[in-house]
């Protein structure tokens, strides 16, 4: 098996060599039509000193070559083998499709890569996945390689000058994610020349603990006399590569524009240089955009968890992911470093909800995620689809839990929390809990998981029900810390059953921190918990610290007691914060529903009329809607469980299959929700069947569909047909390209905008009382 720790010289550009020989068109086709040309290019690189040649399969996939794919791959491998190179690598490039929303799914990408890998049949020395810009696609390719081949895997991405790929993936996250999946070497290729590559190589070497590969372009291309030429000659190229090897990268080659001359001089110039690479240390978790060290004290936001939170439970049952995601964003702003995601509530598909949350949180926040479930099937799917390195919360000391979950933790390179409990319950002594901790750590090590990735939860119990339990927890944290083991605590359980819980929580948190607590799973919004660092920074006069302190503490101060003005005016003029405060003031003298009826609804009607009359425009309409929403939140809080359940008018909305624009749909959602409709938002690019199922679940209801493009407006017609085959319900249609005529033609009802939708909904439900569900 190839040893990536040795110095290796890879080949250079294939496309540029083909152009030089006058070949244009699909390069991989030449494996069949002109194999001698490809062989000649491989040989020219071998003669230049390349140890490795990449098979001419960069763009070989089913999308481009259909049924010819197997022949093309098989020919490419034979040709590469004939070149006499010491090693051959199966070259795999991007599929040329978006992997994820709007494009092909992760599973579809995985299947395509699997097909390529199975077709190659382990006949090369390793698999080289290169020029990736999407972490999702890179993960699909690596996973396909790991699950369908025994060959070593090397993966490189294309980073821009800003040290991120086009999709925003940062170098540290790429390295952590790939190492977690067990790749044997990694690095960067393409996009930039050798000069800009130096900084990329430096960052890669800082983050990586496996050997680093660097394959730059020969500078930037330009067209001279009708020919594409690159601006870095072989001498400059080799000089820069020598610098990069001196920094520690031991596997060097060339990408676009490089020629055998570039490779020959690089091989010669770098031969005597020793690549000293100091391997990166420490335990990190990451999203695609951000890496977080968990070697020191780390705040994990606990708010996305239905346990004891009726609002979260209701949101999960209603598929109201917007509310749950906004909880994540709030916690990011309140200095959480990691987000715990728990969607375990009865009556829902936990796997589906977990994947939906991962998808949405990965777009809306940059924080790494902690997968909070005890079910192996949920954890497996979550880890498979998560673009990053997660923490799994959790295993316990029972054999069943350890043996079902730890293999998954190992496979995906996650960190894991181990609860100090087992089949016999929770020990009430420090010794008892340490014994379970020891079992968890040893079992993890048997599965190949380093103990630095195991975090032991010493378990926080309610002090009110078992006095002395907090001391056992703290004693366990202290003993584990002394033994060099990471610890975790869900802090707030300690105060259960007591008044002014924040005070107890904050004190317990301080005590746990003093004992060395690593992961605090807490509500980061609690000023006494997260405010302290801000206060210290303020006192140390750090830049912007006063603003950060004020921002993080003000929402927790007492409500402002004086009036900010008429609530209706505040809503009409779109002042959300003031509207929220004024609603709280009004609730001192009025009943919640009175505030809604006297102020909020008239304000919405007024802004709606102003909009209709062309006196205000969409931004103001939205600002007012945001302000009304803020007021409603306070009103709903005041109503608590006493919410008056009148008739429920349900409006299911979605952006149609194939369309990823959703701002119009979101505006419709915001405004119709404020008018009291129960809006079920299915999101964007929604599968036909998902819409049909949602209508079935919520029947009787009105369906709203949005589409921006002419091509996706056609999908709207398909969707309406599918729904109307089963349900006799009205379908409201909107979007930039729609006309009333087209809407009618496809069986829908045209809505000009959000305000028009409100009026048409109101009219429909008034005329069809059977559609109003009674509570």
């Amino acid at each position: 098996m190839i040893d990536f720790n040795q110095d290796l010289i890879l080949d250079g550009g294939m496309g540029s060599s083909l152009l030089e020989r006058g070949y244009i068109g699909l390069p991989e086709k030449l494996n069949l039509t002109s194999p001698e040309v490809i062989e000649d290019i491989h040989i020219s690189y071998v003669k230049s000193g390349a140890d490795v040649v990449y098979t001419n399969t960069f763009g070989a996939n089913r999308f481009k070559y259909g049924d010819e794919l197997d022949k093309i791959i098989s020919a490419a491998i034979s040709i590469a083998k004939r070149s006499g190179a010491r090693y051959t690598a199966l070259d795999i490039g991007p599929l040329g499709k978006i992997v994820g929303e709007g494009g092909i799914s992760f599973d579809e990408a995985y299947d395509e890569f699997k097909r390529i890998i199975l077709s190659a049949g382990d006949k090369t020395d390793y698999i080289a996945i290169e020029t990736m810009t999407s972490l999702t696609e890179a993960r699909a390719a690596v996973l396909a390689a790991k699950e369908n081949s025994t060959l070593p895997v090397c993966v490189t991405m294309s980073f821009e000058k800003n040290l991120r790929t086009f999709f925003g993936v940062d170098i540290h996250s790429f390295v952590l994610t790939m190492e977690a999946m067990g790749v044997n070497a990694l690095g960067a290729n393409c996009s930039v020349g050798p000069v800009q590559m130096e900084e990329i190589a430096k960052k890669l070497l800082e983050c990586a603990s496996v050997p680093v590969v660097i394959k730059p372009n020969a500078g930037m291309p330009s067209v001279k006399n009708g020919k594409t030429v690159y601006d870095v000659d072989e001498k400059s190229f080799a000089e820069n590569m020598a610098k990069i090897k001196g920094m520690g990268a031991n596997i060097l080659g060339g990408c676009c524009g490089t020629t055998p001359a570039h490779i020959a001089l690089t091989a010669e110039r770098t031969k005597a240089i020793e690549a000293k690479h100091e391997k990166a240390k420490g335990v990190w978790v990451c999203s695609a955009y951000k890496a977080v060290s968990i070697d020191g004290h780390t705040v994990v936001g606990e708010r996305i968890n239905p346990t004891g939170k009726k609002k979260v439970q209701a949101a999960l049952r209603a598929d109201d992911y917007d509310f749950l995601v906004s909880e994540g964003i709030k916690q990011e702003k309140q200095n959480a470093a990691v987000l715990d995601v728990n969607v375990g509530v009865s009556g829902i598909d936990e796997t589906k909800a977990m994947l939906e949350m991962i998808k949405r949180l990965s777009k809306a926040t940059t924080l790494p995620l902690q997968i909070d479930s005890s079910k192996p099937e949920v954890i497996e799917k979550a880890l498979r689809y998560y673009d990053g390195v997660a923490i799994v919360n959790s295993v316990n000391g029972s054999n069943n839990s350890l043996c079902s979950i730890l293999p998954l933790v190992k496979k995906y390179g996650a960190a894991v929390i181990g609860l100090t409990m087992d089949e016999n319950g929770i020990p009430d002594t420090v010794e008892g809990r340490l014994k379970i901790a020891d079992k968890i750590i040893k079992t993890a090590e048997n599965f190949g998981i380093d103990r630095s990735k195991v975090i032991i939860d010493a378990l926080t119990m309610a002090e009110s029900s078992a006095p002395g339990t907090a001391l056992v927890t703290l004693g366990t944290v202290e003993a584990l810390t002394k033994a060099g083991i990471k610890t975790a605590l869900g802090v707030s359980n300690v105060s259960f059953g007591m008044p002014s819980r924040e005070i107890i929580n904050a004190s317990f948190y301080d005590m746990a921190k003093s004992k060395g607590l690593t992961l605090a799973i807490i509500n980061p919004a609690m000023s006494m918990l997260s405010g302290s660092d801000d206060a210290v920074n303020f006192l140390l006069a750090k830049p912007d610290s006063a603003g950060i302190y004020i921002e993080n503490t003000t929402p927790l101060s007492m409500p402002v007691s004086e009036s900010k003005g008429d609530l209706a005016d505040l809503i009409v003029t779109g002042q959300a914060d003031s509207a929220r405060e004024e609603t709280a003031v009004l609730l001192n003298s009025l009943k919640p529903m009175e505030v809604a009826e006297k102020y909020v609804m008239p304000a919405l009607n007024e802004i709606g009329k102003l909009y209709e009359d062309g006196k205000v425009f969409l931004p103001q309409l939205i600002a007012s809607s945001d302000a009304a929403k803020a007021a409603f939140e306070v009103i709903e809080e005041a109503l608590g469980d006493k919410k008056e359940e009148g008739g429920v008018k349900t409006f299911v909305i979605a952006t149609v299959k194939g369309d990823i624009h959703d701002i119009g749909k979101n505006i419709v959602k915001a405004i119709t929700s404020n008018y009291g409709y129960k809006v079920i938002d299915l999101g964007r690019d929604v599968d036909y069947q998902t819409v049909v199922e949602a209508v079935k679940r919520n029947y009787p209801c009105v369906l709203g569909l949005s589409a921006l493009m002419t091509t996706t407006a056609e999908n709207m017609a398909t969707q309406i047909k599918l729904v109307k085959e089963k349900f006799d319900i009205p379908v409201f249609c909107g979007g930039a390209v729609l006309t009333p005529e087209y809407a009618e033609q496809i069986g829908g009802i045209y809505c000009k905008d959000a305000q028009d939708t409100v009026m048409k909904l109101s009219d429909f439900f008034a005329r069809n009382p059977a559609f109003v569900k009674q509570a």
Partner: protein, 184 residues
């Protein structure tokens, strides 16, 4: 870069409207911070036939495009984008305030148009003003389904990361492709 005034002008500041100035400022700041303007321009040979145009031998259907490029032997084909981070900022902002997300979205429209105008100016300068107006795939009888073919022709996917979805939309969403005919 976009200024508050440019955004207001686009939205029609002569109208009797009010704006949440703080949100507007925030939208402008976020839009400027997250935009990564990139573009790729390629000069292509043009051959017009009644029902379409060949660019470097690659056929694009569209009789009106053919008429638009009548008399041109060459064309500058380009793609410009604000990058993927711009889309993510809109996505993040919508959870904070739909108004903010909407304003950033608006700002993106202005910024991508500005970028296209700048590229257009460069082309006009280089060919001494002997150019046609900008034309995009999807106009008239050209098919939006040809968008990825166009992106491939100018290597926009490889060079600046612009791709199409299954529904033939460009990703990042704040991206524009254009054809500028050049006549002698």
């Amino acid at each position: 870069m976009i200024s508050k005034n440019a955004l207001l002008l686009f939205m029609g500041n002569e109208r009797p409207v009010f704006y949440n100035d703080e949100t507007l400022s925030k939208a402008v700041a976020l839009a400027n911070a997250c935009a990564a303007e990139r573009s790729v321009v390629k000069l292509a040979d043009v051959e017009t036939v009644p029902d379409g145009v060949y660019f470097n031998g690659e056929f694009f259907k569209g009789s009106k495009l053919s008429a638009h490029l009548d008399g041109c032997k060459r064309a500058a084909l380009f793609c410009a984008t604000l990058g993927d981070e711009f889309d993510r900022e809109i996505e993040r902002s919508k959870y904070e305030s739909l108004e903010l997300a909407y304003l950033i979205d608006y700002a993106g429209l202005v910024m991508i148009e500005q970028l296209c105008d700048e590229i257009n100016c460069e082309i006009a300068k280089e060919y001494k003003g002997k150019i046609t107006a900008r034309y995009s795939i999807g106009f008239d009888d050209t098919s939006i389904k040809d968008q990825q073919k166009f992106l491939d022709l100018i290597s926009a996917t490889k060079k600046i990361g612009v791709m199409t979805t299954k529904g033939d939309m460009m990703c990042p969403t704040k991206s524009v492709t254009a054809i500028v005919g050049i006549y002698d």
